[in-house]
């Protein structure tokens, strides 16, 4: 034991209580499954003056079928996602991503809302959520709810377009088109317990042999997870063409860091993309 935070913890037993506590203690850090927060505390990287514990707010967990898609509560764990037949059917790429987060112990505790709020450029579910046109619902006691498109959520490195009195409450996944193909690929050091060097989510609509809609998103290759508009534009309107991957370098900006090099990331990102496009032809 290196560090135990002595800061107060405000325990929310419902979403409504959570919003009241969030408004009263905007300086306090929201805490879901703890799988990132506890690591940061132990490393001495953070020392928030307080925490809002959301774990007991059970109405923030679970999946609901409504509004032409699925609503996934922020407190829904990766294991819950893997086991929900509706998520498996509508968002197989998200389930694949959930299965690669840490290992069982992390998947049992870590939450979708936590992955989004932690805002790591390497967050495994984030490129997939972008590819699936997910929207993130945030709420405050004072102003109610609003929806932020996933590709407008991150404004900079680990920075979210979420106000200090707002909480991430749930995620909306629109029902996929029957002609959509989803894809997820993570490249790490090993299969389990790896933080991604490159993480890739995509959704491509194929009709009569042509791509009619495309979403391509990567993580670990820029300061935030990024959508790749140049690649998407190059894909649409023709048969799947691996040459679209040539535009990737305009859309991503990888760096050298402890887990990999910019050069490796550029090479591997382009290859995973080309391999996916080839698989469509």
């Amino acid at each position: 034991m290196l560090t135990t935070s002595q800061s107060p913890v405000y325990v929310a037993h419902s979403l409504d209580e959570a919003l009241v506590l969030r408004a009263a203690h905007p300086e306090a850090m929201p805490l879901a499954g703890g799988t990132d927060v506890m690591v940061f505390i132990e490393a001495g990287a953070i020392d928030p003056p307080g925490f809002i514990d959301l774990w007991a707010a059970r109405d923030m967990a679970g999946v609901a079928d409504a509004d032409g898609g699925l609503w996934i509560g922020a407190l829904t764990t990766y294991t819950d996602l893997e086991r929900d037949d509706r998520v498996v059917k509508a968002a197989p790429a998200l389930v694949e991503a959930a299965r690669t987060v840490g290992a069982k112990q992390i998947q049992n505790r870590g939450t979708l809302g936590g992955n989004i709020a932690n805002a790591s450029p390497a967050g495994d579910t984030l490129p997939v959520l972008m590819a699936l046109d997910a929207e993130v619902e945030v709420a405050s006691k004072a102003r109610g709810t609003r929806r932020i498109p996933m590709d407008a959520l991150y404004t900079g490195y680990r920075t979210l377009a979420v106000a200090p009195d707002e909480l991430i409450t749930r995620v909306f996944l629109p029902t996929p088109h029957p002609a959509d193909v989803q894809h997820f690929r993570k490249v790490g050091t090993r299969l389990a317990q790896a933080i991604s060097k490159v993480v890739f989510g995509a959704r491509v609509r194929l009709e009569q042999g042509k791509v009619t809609d495309a979403r391509v998103a990567f993580g670990s290759v820029a300061a935030t997870p990024v959508r790749c508009p140049r690649v998407e534009a190059a894909l649409v309107g023709r048969a799947p063409d691996p040459a679209a991957a040539d535009h990737l370098l305009v859309d991503i900006a990888p760096i050298d860091d402890v887990r990999s090099t910019a050069d490796y990331r550029r090479t591997v990102a382009a290859r995973t993309l080309r391999s996916f496009i080839s698989s469509l032809a």
């Binding site: 034991m1 774990w55 007991a56 290992a103 389990a192 317990q193």
Partner: protein, 171 residues
């Protein structure tokens, strides 16, 4: 703050900082030292416990989050003198060497047994991917769990008392 929860079927009450790691409260406040600390950052699985039946890393759980919940540690696997099938299999197959990772493996395997009475070998490997062992090379651990869960693998020879004596002397 005062935090009440259930540990291995028994009601316990501790006075702890709400953000104190469950791992420290188990080992230091409750003297339940079966749960080990390895990496302290959720990578190695040595501190695996079950909360409400789900395997988690106790180093990543703030104690406030187990208020009112059921926690099971390696100490709670055996019922009286009767070992859990996974424990028996680890003995038979030599699934332990230095022993530090063993409690975490046993608890993770117990969750798997509860969820999948007859998992495939791949499912066993996947369920145990969050537990690191630096001695055995995993083969005997996986053999032990497959045996405990499916009876698919027969032991080369069940250990007698002499084997267990020798094992306890050399560890």
């Amino acid at each position: 703050m005062k935090i009440d929860f259930e540990l291995n079927g028994r009601a316990v009450s501790v006075e702890a900082a709400p953000m104190a790691r469950l791992l420290d409260v188990l080992r230091e406040d409750l003297r339940a030292t079966g749960t080990k600390e390895g990496c302290g950052e959720g990578e190695c699985g040595a501190c695996t416990v079950l909360i409400e039946g789900r395997a988690v890393n106790a180093c990543l759980v703030p104690t406030v989050q187990v208020a009112g919940q059921k926690v099971l540690t390696v100490e709670g696997l055996a019922e009286d003198d009767r070992l859990h099938p996974v424990q028996t299999a680890f003995l038979k197959y030599g699934g332990a060497q230095c022993g530090i990772c063993t409690p975490g493996f046993l608890v993770a395997a117990a969750e798997l047994l509860a969820e999948h009475p007859s998992p495939t070998r791949l499912q066993v490997r996947e369920a145990l991917a969050g537990n690191l062992c630096r001695c055995t090379g995993y083969q005997k651990i996986v053999d032990a769990v497959v045996a405990a869960l499916t009876g698919e693998v027969e032991p080369a020879g069940a250990p007698g008392d002499a084997d267990l004596d020798r094992a306890s002397r050399t560890c």
